[in-house]
Symmetry: C2
Subunit: 253 residues, 2 copies
DNA sequence: CGCCCTTTTGAAGAAAATCAAGGGCAGTGG
DNA sequence: CCACTGCCCTTGATTTTCTTCAAAAGGGCG
């Protein structure tokens, strides 16, 4: 099933996508132990499929979203703009990740979401999702779990913000674990569609310093990175080095 | 009503508290437009009142909480411990703030919560709260809103982590806005029970540097701080200086 | 090929940590 | 009543980390 997601995202990204089968959408959501009744509830939602070009807008700060989103293929980012115009990325959305809470609670976005790569997404109207969440405890808990994880990631990013090298290592470990969970990494190798500049925006480092930290990780024999392809040389060693414990990602595993 | 909360917290903190009237608990939750039916639902929950001493544990990383908490009086903090033993505070809980998502989703805490000052709290069993959330859309949305706000705060903390002076200013503005909302601030003056060391743990600064930033704010004529009492000299100027926009706190106002 | 974007490296400067030492103040105990 | 103690705030000097500025080198693509 995990491999299916991978193949499917590739297919979608090639632009061949019409409406993907609804069963597929449920796979992306990765809700454990979903009953047939709840699965039917989710299938019955008015999902729509869409596409955003690289760097395209998904949600802008200030607007009140009418739709909740789930990424099917590609990467997106949440970010906030500082008064001087620089950006801080506050989270990455990978295939299967959802963006829904402002829509469901009908509140204004306090940050923006945009596509890092070209993205295929599926979206559902805020009111329909609200009803689904309110009518099924299982669906409610599944979406809550996604918030739990996002919040935990934010906390780790904050915690790590003392030491640039460990921070970068932890970031790589996070993306490795998340990529593994959706079948987008094999062993200790992963591909990420981020420039060092974008990684810097996420870690609050300049591109220059991010580059130096990559070099430092390479020279320590921990991580090799080349053109978006990252090889973790010794996973246990890197985990120890940066204090990474995958528990906080609360993955179904 | 806001003033009532203030008086009540004082009373509780003096240790005079038994079980506070249930109507009081609902006031603390600050749920707008609560119907009588939903109010009754919340009143029917098995709330218990408790007390933690200064620095006492509320929830520890690794445990799966059986209860959701709401602070009635005093301040608590969420924090995560680094491998070298230093702490990063990732959030403060003020009276009226809740701590529930790990309980409701039955997941292990990925961080700890402990009392900054002596705290009075009320707690409710995870299963009871889960049922309430699943049986009332209004209650569900009210708790979701609390997550929305906490997450927004985390994002701003991340965004601000470039400039220590602005970061401290923004932090003060945040606490000012939150204190105002619960009647714990008057005009531009607020009292916070935090040492500069604890503020440093929250901003990822050393106590020494936090102190220098306080001095710098004072010398710029923006903020005066003395023994936990903070006076914002010119609120608009401080807001402009650090790019504070209270929108992200999504307060009932 | 030439262009743009990204990566890489160097050198200088700014920001924050670290190290070290006093000072104020509240609580405690003689 | 006063000395002592512990905690917190404050300041100075030094070192480390990260940014800024600048320039060159790779790499994909029309």
């Amino acid at each position: 099933m995990i491999h299916m997601i991978h193949v499917e995202s590739a297919r979608l990204c090639l632009g061949l996508a019409g409406m993907p089968p609804l069963s597929q959408i449920i796979d992306f959501l990765r809700i454990p132990d979903l009953s047939e009744k709840d699965a039917a509830l989710i299938r019955a939602l008015p999902w729509e499929v869409g596409h955003v070009k690289k760097s395209g807008k998904i949600l802008a700060a200030g607007e009140t979203p009418d739709f909740a989103f789930m990424i099917l293929a590609g990467w997106a980012a949440r970010y906030d703009v500082r008064r001087d115009g620089t950006r801080r990325v506050t989270g990455f959305l990978l295939p299967g990740d959802v963006c829904w809470i402002h829509a469901v609670t009908a509140t204004k976005m306090d940050h923006s979401v945009s596509a890092i790569t070209a993205c295929d997404y599926t979206r559902v109207s805020a009111s329909a999702l609200r009803e689904a969440i309110n009518s099924s405890a299982k669906v409610n808990m599944a979406f809550l779990r996604s918030k739990l994880i996002e919040e935990a990631i934010l906390r780790k990013w904050l915690r790590n913000s003392l030491d640039a090298k460990r921070s970068l290592a932890h970031f790589i470990c996070e993306l490795h674990a998340r990529s593994l969970a959706i079948g987008h990494a094999e062993g200790n190798t992963l591909e990420i569609p981020l420039t060092q500049d974008q990684i810097g925006d996420a870690l609050s480092l300049t591109a220059v310093h991010t580059n130096r930290m990559f070099r430092s990780l390479r020279e320590s024999g921990l991580v090799n990175a080349k053109g978006g392809k990252i090889i973790i040389m010794d996973l246990d060693a890197v985990h120890r080095f940066c204090g990474f414990n995958p528990l906080y990602l609360h993955q179904a595993s």
